[in-house]
């Protein structure tokens, strides 16, 4: 097998895992859209996978305390008003995260997305590994278990 053949094989092998869980559909209004918007604001990443967002949202809503804090965080961020939601800088500037409950729910959302792990009914569960935002943050490398490129790509500075 030549190198091109190999890469073709690898592509086929990982085709399923390389398909993003997010869709290109315009973000629709509703609880999930609002949650994805808030998540993007908190994490710094757009185009978040909707399927994972639904899992994280459902997990937060399963806790009365976190659900209440999430609604307050939405209100703080300006969701549901005429104006567009604020920015992360706005929220930090007005001390939103000084409120321990609001900070806790914001941190939980960030950790969900970055680690792919959420609090399930009977403990932590994995929603995704390779699509956890940590790997998007480490933009110089590939998620573990997925091919990164041709042999030796790791030898050069990621800055080129």
């Amino acid at each position: 097998m030549d190198r091109r053949g190999f890469l073709g094989g690898v592509s086929a092998l990982f085709a399923a895992s390389l398909v993003p869980a997010c869709s290109d559909d315009p973000v629709v209004d509703g609880p999930l859209a609002r949650f994805l918007s808030l998540s993007a604001l908190l994490t710094g990443f757009e185009n978040l996978p909707r399927a994972h967002g639904q899992i994280y949202l459902d997990a937060l809503r399963a806790s009365a305390e976190q659900s209440l804090a999430l609604d307050e965080l939405y209100a703080e961020a300006g969701y549901g008003r005429e104006t567009s939601p604020g920015s992360l800088a706005d929220l930090e500037a007005k001390g939103t995260f000084d409120d321990a409950r609001l900070r806790a729910v914001a941190d939980a959302i960030i950790l969900n997305w970055y680690t792919g792990v959420y609090e399930g009914a009977s403990g932590p569960e994995v929603a995704t590994y390779t699509e956890a935002l940590t790997w998007r943050a480490l933009d110089y490398t590939n998620p573990p278990s997925e091919c990164g490129g041709l042999t030796g790509f790791w030898a050069e500075s990621p800055e080129g």
Partner: protein, 535 residues
């Protein structure tokens, strides 16, 4: 009456040594049967299981079996019965394909001095063979597995490596650049990891899950020889748990009894028997096979079966380099320092090999995932969080020094007759102590690690106060020239039972500092002719 299987050769264990032996014998025309205690592995399913595992450890991807339980690094007393004083931290897999499913792939040879520790340094014992005796088989083993490398790493060579060396990572090159002048040479690690298409397997694509599973088999694992063996006609019976070796009146093995997960009893018989069930399960099986005629178990007149348990205890250190090393990129390790593997100091302290990690702090702290939690606690969010996470992860360096450990008869595994598994088979009871020879060597390793950290301007330095396991279980049925002090001879044949052979790192009289797999394969290939001579 259960199954009564017959073959020319009955092998226990479908790991690397069992399947390579089986393949060679079958190609020579022998009818070969392998009894494997564990189930088969579906690679794609295993990868998905790994991705979905909350705690990602070497055993995470693989099916577990209540009929053939095994140790797990996150539950060191779940299967092992640990007597201390130190915890034995290395695990293995009971699966078709064995522990190479989750090995790193490092294939360095022992150095010549490793075979003569007693003669040269007055510690340990000598092997019954020399490096020169094994050298041709090392060369053959490298071809069998597909080894990429360069330089002799202290072990003289008569043949080139089968493949060009693995390219060093950006991190390796940065370290090599800054420690120039400290007196250490950074060496490219020889490894069974393809740098070109080899044996119909693709070159490495840097998926960096060498441990626990390579998604594309660029890193060799014994599934390669499982297939080759079966294609050559070998019968592999999975979930067949050997539990008793019967010895006939003539002193030869007459059959091996095994159980199925449903508890039913079966047996296998042949002309020759090969135990290749890992350095923990093989001695357990020998010791379980006690009779009135053999009160110490099979092949144990020397009382050495199960003793001299060794590992390469690891001095683990980690720190944050001043500048980016582009960590978490490429195969898990591609370079290290081999110059510390030999020297006159071995009369007093352990030799060691420094391994440079390419996987950030994944092993010591669980980074980068745990780093996220720390940064969020500090109040980082949004793009600032992503940027800082990337910046820190790129600088997170792990160094691991694999230490030599001397054979100590009090370090041992015995069957825990009062701690049985679901099939009523004893779990391994382990007594284990890391002595001052090794611990003093760990102190020397820390000094080297500190020098490297100094050169990198590293902060937040940590040195694990206790040794970690390397997964290199050795010594428990050692080879030797004297039947009074060893279990097998230089051909891996039992001193006591002519038609019984034992393969694997249990045969190692001393540990050296080389990851054991290549030596396991070389000894296996060397034993082929002796097994065939018994047919």
């Amino acid at each position: 009456m259960g199954d009564q299987l017959t073959a020319d050769v009955v092998i226990v264990g479908a790991g690397i040594s069992g399947t390579i032996m089986a393949h060679r014998l079958a190609k020579g025309g022998a009818k070969v049967l392998i009894l494997e205690s564990g189930p088969r592995v579906d690679r794609q399913k295993a990868i998905e299981t790994y991705r979905g595992a909350l705690i990602k450890v070497p055993e995470s991807p693989f099916p577990s079996s209540t009929a053939a339980p095994g140790p797990r690094v996150i539950d060191l007393e779940g299967y092992y019965v640990q007597e201390g004083p130190d915890l034995f931290k290395s695990s293995y897999l009971r699966l078709v394909g064995g522990t190479t499913w989750h090995w790193l792939g490092t294939t360095i040879r022992l150095v010549p001095d490793d075979f003569k520790m007693k003669t040269l340094f007055g510690v340990g014992v000598d092997w019954p063979i020399t490096y020169d005796d094994l050298e041709p088989y090392y060369a053959e083993a490298e071809i069998e597995l597909g080894v990429a490398g360069e330089g002799d790493l202290g072990s003289p060579r008569t043949t080139p490596y089968p493949m060009k060396p693995i390219p060093l990572t950006y991190s390796d090159k940065r370290i090599a650049g800054v420690i120039d002048g400290l007196g250490y040479t950074v060496t490219t690690t020889a490894q069974a990891r393809n740098t070109d298409t080899y044996d119909e397997r693709p070159p490495c694509c840097g998926a960096r899950t060498c441990i626990p599973i390579c998604p594309i088999v660029a890193r060799y694992d014994a599934s390669v020889h499982v297939k080759k063996a079966e294609d050559a006609g070998v019968q592999i019976v999975e979930e067949a748990i050997a539990h008793f070796i019967d010895i006939g009146a003539d002193g030869r093995v007459s059959r091996i009894r095994f159980k199925r997960p449903d508890g039913t009893e079966h047996e296998a018989s042949g002309k020759v028997y090969v135990l290749a069930a890992h350095a923990m399960e093989t001695p357990k099986l020998l010791l379980m096979s006690k009779t009135g005629a053999l009160p110490n178990g099979v092949s144990n007149l020397s009382d050495q079966v199960g003793r001299n348990l060794m590992d390469h205890p690891i001095q683990l250190s980690w720190a944050l380099a001043e500048d980016s090393l582009a960590q978490s990129r490429g195969p898990l390790s591609t370079a290290g320092i081999d110059g510390t593997r030999g020297g006159a100091f071995r009369n007093a302290t352990a030799a060691f090999r420094v391994e440079f990690g390419n996987d950030g702090w994944t092993w010591p702290t669980g980074g980068p995932m745990t780093t996220v939690g720390e940064l969020v606690k500090l109040g980082l969010r949004g793009q600032a969080l992503a940027a800082e996470l990337s910046r820190q992860s790129a600088r997170q360096l792990r160094l691991s020094s694999l230490m030599e450990q001397l054979p100590d008869p009090e370090n041992r595994i015995v069957p825990a007759m009062d701690q049985l598994d679901a099939l009523g088979i004893p779990r391994p009871r382990i007594s284990y102590r890391v002595d001052t020879y090794t611990r003093d060597g760990m102190g020397k390793a820390i000094e080297v690690h500190e020098q490297i950290f100094d050169a990198l301007g590293a902060t937040g330095r940590k040195h694990d106060p206790e040794p970690q396991g390397a997964g290199h279980v050795m010594g428990t049925y050692r080879m030797g020239a004297d039947p009074a002090t060893s279990v097998v001879d230089a051909q891996c044949r039992s001193h006591e039972h002519d038609n019984l052979f034992m393969l694997g790192s249990g045969t190692f009289p001393t540990a050296g500092t080389a990851n054991p797999t290549l030596t396991i394969v070389a000894l296996t290939l060397r034993a082929v002719a002796a097994v065939q001579a018994q047919l």
